[in-house]
Amino acid sequence: MASTTSPAGFNETPLVTRARAGDLSAFTQLVEKYEGKIFRLARHITNSQEDAEDVLQETFLKAYEHLGEFQGNSKFYTWIVRIAVNESLMKLRKRKSDRSVSLDEQIDTGEDVIAREIAVWEDNPEDKYSQTELREILDQAVKSLPPIFRSVFVLRDIEELSSEETAEILGLTVPAVKSRLLRARLKLREKLTRYFKRKGDDIFDYL
């Protein structure tokens, strides 16, 4: 198995090898390492605490049961992210109000997202709010994105996977990931401007 290093330089290979050999405590250490990230991802994609709790459990149970099928040529982390994304999307599809969720959905290519709000932000906008307030603001903004943008944004900018990994997990092409990511980032930028703009200084208003 190729040695793989996952987020923050953590080498997961020895634990994965032991877990594959049936060592439950090694697998538990992998759970401890990644459960926070998997839960966050599920919470963002499903927009539901309850669904995210189910997804968390299903993801690690499936991973444990199918550990023998994990080839070791991708990162273990990427492999469980893929399981978690699939479980999360299934939750969305099951929900009546979200019947039409599809990652292949045609997206309009108009320029509606491009910059209606042009105001300078504070240098460190995150310092204006407490951690709790900030989390609330950021989560609300992600929540407002359509699922196709949300999934791409969560994998690329929150879980910090590469465009290639994101494309593989979501079954999209790399250019499709990139164009969705840009639109997601611009939409979020618009949403966040009202919270983060520098006060009393809409210097471009007259333009």
Binding site: G22, L24, S25, F27, T28, V31, E35, G36, K37, F39, R40, R43, E53, L56, Q57, F60, L61, Y64, E65, I114, A115, I118, A119, V120, W121, P125, E126, L134, R135, L138, D157, I158, E160, S163, K178, S179, L181, L182, R185, L186, L188, R189, L192, T193, F196, F204, L207
Partner: protein, 95 residues
């Protein structure tokens, strides 16, 4: 001469530092001359930064323990020799 429209088309590549050095310097030239594109670029960079700066959610201890119990059950079903019950987080903390 880069237009705003062209700049925005290249913004993604610019943010992810995937342009050629020539294109990058043309885009930077445009940024130096166009306040609107400068603001969009700066605020988009900050958007990415604030999201990357957030820590994962803390997992409620109860949820973590529920997951470990479910795992232990599955492990035991797959291989009854795995009789060991995993320590819950509280037990680990009191060790």
């Amino acid at each position: 001469m880069i237009t705003c429209k062209r700049f925005l088309e290249e913004l993604e590549a610019y943010l992810d530092e995937q342009t050629t050095p020539e294109l990058r310097s043309e885009l930077e030239q445009h940024l130096a001359e166009c306040p609107n594109c400068w603001v969009i670029t700066d605020t988009t960079k900050k958007t990415i930064r604030v999201y990357r700066g957030m820590d994962p959610y803390p997992i409620p201890g109860e949820l973590h323990n529920k997951l470990l119990s479910a795992l232990t059950r599955v492990a035991h079903r797959q291989n009854p020799a795995v009789g060991e019950v995993l320590a819950t987080r509280e037990e680990l903390e009191t060790k």
